[in-house]
Assembly symmetry: C2
Homo-oligomer: 264 residues x 2
């Protein structure tokens, strides 16, 4: 029997901050016919709340150093406000959503990051995804909304990168489903000219990726995302799409965005 499709979709803070974009995204997500998981960030809201509370924020290599106070802020914003706002809006749009963190049902087990030079604080690196349990929820026609908070099974919550969570969930669920992993961001796809939104590269495979990098047609910030995408493909994910949140329906149909695919 062939596996059923599953869409693992990641949205960033820029979608969450914009009521109009979010509303378009919610409708498109709810309209997906079949199994789906939404992974969200929520960066700016957490930064704003930390500022209001006078908690100094330190970011090293794009990662927020997470002290006790900052962990409290991101838990409140990600697992509380953002997650439950998304769940309520999805319920209204006809998606039977439930919101989770990695602590709930031991969905994502992680450990506190160990780094020889930098103390990231309560930042978690993922050990395992409880794919069997997530599968049992999906089977009941439940849509999962995952906040970027995990736990270490010893009572400690951990702040974890949402892109990585999406990737790890997509890989783990490949055991049960044919998984498409979709990264929604503010651009319409991977661009060959960062200044020109019409320069979307429709498809990238490992060979063309090598070429694009050699010709320096891919800007630096995109490289870790694409490296991650190819790792997900190697581990069983069918394809990775990168596109605009408001165009989710088109991205899913490959009429918009960039498809990252295995050797063709």
């Amino acid at each position: 029997m062939s596996k059923q499709p599953l869409y693992v979709i990641k949205i960033g803070g820029n979608v969450i901050d914009d009521a109009e974009k979010l509303s378009a995204f919610i409708r498109a997500f709810a309209a997906i016919n079949g199994h789906k998981i939404l992974v969200h960030g929520g960066g700016k809201l957490a930064t704003r709340l930390a500022e209001q509370l006078g908690i100094e924020q330190q970011v090293v290599d794009g990662r927020r150093i997470t002290d006790t106070e900052t962990l409290r802020v991101v838990t409140m914003v990600y697992a509380g406000y953002v997650n439950k706002t998304l769940v309520a809006q999805l319920q209204a749009a006809g998606s039977n959503a439930i919101g989770l963190t990695g602590a709930d049902g031991n969905a994502i087990l992680a450990h506190k990051r160990q780094h020889p030079a930098i103390d990231y604080g309560f930042v978690g690196d993922i050990d395992s995804v409880n794919a069997a349990w997530l599968h049992s929820l999906l089977r009941e026609q439940i849509d999962i909304v995952m906040a970027p908070i995990t736990h270490d099974a010893h009572g400690q919550l951990l702040n974890t990168n949402a892109d990585t969570i999406a990737q790890e969930i997509a890989v783990a669920l490949s055991e049960y489903y044919t998984v498409d992993l979709i990264y929604c961001f503010e651009k319409p796809g991977v661009l060959s000219n960062a200044a020109d939104e019409s320069s979307v590269i429709g498809q990238i495979d490992p060979n063309s990726y090598l070429r694009l990098r050699e010709e320096k047609l891919i800007f630096a910030g995109m490289i870790p995302k694409l490296d991650n995408a190819f790792r997900a493909l190697e581990k069983g994910v069918r394809q990775v799409m990168i596109g605009k949140a408001e165009e989710l329906s088109l991205v899913i149909e490959r009429k918009s965005g960039t498809a990252i695919v295995p050797h063709t």
Copy 2:
């Protein structure tokens, strides 16, 4: 076939604010052999955060007037920080907990309170509990941790009294289980002398309740709690216990606290 037991246990903010009490409670809750649901408040933390953010709080008849900013605060604190801290600690103690609000899986449907004179803002009164779904989670040996936030199925989250949520869940789940509803608070039970913690009344039935009220041996703040307890009994709950969170194991065995029971 006789129904299996289910414990619906409500804890208030005073337990959550006290690390030692909370830790004792978590161990006792995790140790309960069988199905269980935890309903929590989190009052003081929300009040403190609102103060820090300069959001004025207004309380009328014990209910927090919930404007947009206050709803954001209680969603962050209750559904985010408190709920996920409890879930992580329960997971560490061996309970396979998941944290929910009423929006998740449409667990608790509510409507915005309509009042002729007072605008309570985003305060929700409960319409229905999705007992079938909660039952399906409990059947999988999942322990449910419910935050006092509900939704109206039109995308609006609502702030809802935790005592009432515990009662409505207990009543609704009586269809599937023999339910004990347990209110944990700072006193060791219902006292016949408010100043004397050793004056716990071991058992109250409707007749003795009438007598105690006539003799003015029950202080005013307790009356709505007890009225609610008797209503729960009328609707199928087996017994209601009122006792100390740290003594949960004893309360469950009726070795501590007050048992509210039907006509004996």
